[in-house]
Symmetry: C2
Subunit: 98 residues, 2 copies
């Protein structure tokens, strides 16, 4: 449709993985899909990357039927600390599609 917004302007269906229990993120992602979203992105950095993969797999296998992993991107983010010191941290983005 001509008036459909491009993907970048759609509401942000992104779940950031932090230090909460895995199941809270699973519920967040499942809720987004069950409330009509067809795409959800899971993002994580550093040690949370393993949890991000757990979340994607648990949602896919147990909570939402017909979900596929559309793409997985890994990158390095540069964090600037005090005194101009920088440190690198790996990050992951998992794109899930219904």
């Amino acid at each position: 449709m001509a008036n459909e917004k491009p993907a970048s302007e759609k509401p942000d269906n992104t779940v950031y993985i932090g230090k909460k229990p895995t199941m809270s993120y699973v519920l967040a992602v499942a809720t987004l899909f069950n409330s009509g979203s067809n795409h959800v992105t899971i993002k994580a950095r550093g040690r949370s990357i393993s949890t991000a993969v757990d979340v994607a797999e648990i949602v896919r296998n147990r909570f939402v039927q017909g979900l596929t992993v559309d793409d997985v991107k890994i990158t390095t983010e540069v964090l600037e600390g005090e005194e101009g010191k920088t440190s690198n941290v790996s990050s992951i983005e998992i794109f899930l599609k219904k």
Copy 2:
């Protein structure tokens, strides 16, 4: 070429991530590329998934020029324990290409 072997029969350029220091896996992957491989796969399960992403990113950014992430796959493996109990563990495969 008609006689080229399918990918599954090529020598196995796979590095499995375990509990050693990150840099030992970085060196293993970099060595494979520097000894002529054009494709290396990094595999990890569970908590080692974060390390796998670190290894891929460190090799890419600091050790081997022109390396790209060809694909990233995430899956669930079912481990069978004693008394027939099963547990699920997430796993990742990162395909690096020169």
